[in-house]
Amino acid sequence: ATQNSGTDGPPVRGGNLTVAVPTDPQSLDMVANPGQVTAQIGNMMYEKLFEVDRDFTARPMLVDNYTTSQDRLVYTFTLRKDVTFQDGNPLTAADVVASLDRWRKAHRTGQLVSPDIDSITAGDPHTVQLRLKRPRYPIIDELASPGTEIYEAKNLAGLPATGFGQDKAIGTGPYKLKSWDIGQQLVLQRYDGYKSRSEQDWGGQAGAKHAYLDTVTYKVVADQDALVNGLQTGQWDHAMPTNDQYESLKANPAVVVHNLPGGNENVIIPNFTKGSRFADPRARQALNLLLDKPAINAATGGSKDLTIETGAFASPDNKSFYSTAGEDVYRQHDPARAKQLLAEAGVPAGSTVHIVTTNSYPEFGKWAVLLQDELSKIGIQTKIDTYDFATMLGTLTKDPAGWDLTTLFFDSALTSPAQMPALTLGTLNGSSSAELDALLAQFNASTNADQAKSTVDKLQDLTWRQLSVITLSQSRLYAAYSPRLKGYDNFYRIFWNSWLAP
């Protein structure tokens, strides 16, 4: 399989694209349900004021243009006039206000941003005013982040915390919901009333959108083998298999594999809570010294193409957040010193480390196994408890001091520190600190990109000093799809501007 080159030929209108997704989206409400599949489908249906381009930079989408006051406290957004929702109603400022209000209250990012917001109000039907309490540098990026999709105000009135049902899944995007057989498949259909922006070249989720495909069918395929087999036998045109499958798919001429922008940050999370074996910073340093990250990555990453040996919390594709600060700490490896440090921190050889992990994602279990092996080499015993994901979270939060290590991965393509799980893990492992809060405030107060970038470096450096997470690597994502799928060289989540060759 080869990477897509620019020789896709002229776009063809029509046809149905079948996409395999690992779970049912469960809800199409992107505020109530931050799941990946919901996002993947929701991005086809909904739009935000701003959207990120292929460099993860925010660009206007529903906003025609906007102004910022001198003191950087008042933003005035002018909405595009011709935009209609998929039920035919025009987009109004009231819809934007209602959607963003809900985001502030109910979405995790919104909640983090909210303290800085004074008000969001509608000027006239096509202007919205956002007043801040203090300047906030990433506010536009945050308005381009998941959760800020604009829904109709009338659909948001009186919603429970569980969000809205499929009857209210109406946005302004190029595709609308056609049918949904729960647990089986979901079909999107071209929204004929969609008015595209005129720009062509922003990439990512931004810019012009052309709906060439008549329909997009999302099939729920949980089983990895089924996923790969169906891909090879043409039962679906597009899937995102696990990294294990990468090499064999790459070798298969019937399938195209394609690396996607962004990725996952793979982390081991030590518990800071008193009572944990890693409450002592020396123990965390020791752990970092102990881990042979390249070896672990080799055993779990699947392919060199997919593994980025970096300790950064953001993807290298994410220009404004990718930082190499602390890279030297990331690369340290010294088991002997680790053993000594652990002993100093009160974790001598022979003690037992309690790892809680899940089998819901295969990688987690693998890391746990490799961790166990490395710990055993310096005489530390391990007790691994494997639960399903929901139970793991329950176990971690119910008894905050009852565990020592856990494993997770985070989306590394996000656009503001508020969205970076690696920086907001305080509730889980007790790693919040004044220093972190101060740095975050400093970032928010930045006035320009350089200033922001230097704060990101400090944040990254702090992470490696504090070791609130120990990053193993970044995994790149990839899509595998039928060679008939053309014009698909953008973000993995979206199929506008793509078409099926006849």
Binding site: T23, D24, Q26, S27, A32, N33, P34, G35, A106, R108, Q111, P160, A161, T162, G163, F164, G165, Q166, D181, I182, G183, Q184, K219, V220, V221, A222, D223, D225, A226, N229, G230, Q232, T233, Q235, S360, Y387, D388, F389, A390, T391, M392, L393, G394, T395, L396, T397, K398, L408, P421, T424, L425, T427, L428
Partner: protein, 314 residues
Amino acid sequence: MTRLLLRRLRDLLVILVVVGTMMFFVIRLIPGDPALAILGPTARPADVAALRSAMGLDGSLWEQYLSWAGHVLHGDFGSSITYHQPVLGVVLEHIPPTLTLAVLSSVISFLLSVAVTSWYAVSPRNPLARALDRLSALGMAIPDFWISLVLVLVFSVTLRWLPSSGYHSLFTDPVQALPALVLPLVVLVIGQTALFVLTLRESMLGELPLAYLRTARAKGLSESRVMLRHVLPNALMPLITQLGSNFAMLVGGIVIIESIFVIPGLGHLLMGAVSTRDFPLIQGVTLFVALLFVLVNLLVDLSYAVIDPKVRVS
């Protein structure tokens, strides 16, 4: 017969109540919180609590139970937490695939096992019959997920004869449905047939020394007729028991087959519901599985009464 039916209907209600209640409390023993599962590791406790209450999960277990039971009595199984839809609808949507697989595979296995065993009984010296009989022992030994992987690799991925997965309704779309059903059915049939052959052979062997066969032979009946009309029917009871139990197992448990072949059935739904802690949905599915189970066993018991007049079901 009517008395039997009435009594079994009463049992059915009792079982449903017991299972419903047991299930309600058992699944709540499972740690993990649906709200937390949705909101993820970085959620604030306050939000989790808010979501919990929106899902109707606050209040004591007893209050929850009573309210759930009260609604169920009025035919309202509640609303799925994850799908935001009435549980009843979600469950009904997932029943046909599972039932299609379970019924078809049970029927096919039953017929196959009866055919193989009787053939072997009638002509024990026929090499093919003997080979089939022996093969059944091997059939029992094959892990179903293993053979699924292999069959898909051979017949779908390599030979491209059959789709590797998928499900279409047999009634609305038979042309697409049949090829997709072949592989999962084969997998289910292999294991079940093997088990059935073993059960049936055993019970037929038990009948062979009985004196009534002598009478049948004295009538000048052919050996095949003796086997098919006398031994077989009298030996069927253990097989039918086995069939009933297996059917029950299938309905609640073909998770693996359903997931490998991407069949949107009850087992799959149940697994998903458990992993997201969608309590109303779990309860709904469980009640339906229990209902199906009881109905199947009612049939089994009725067939006892038909097959063995001495066993007056009580």
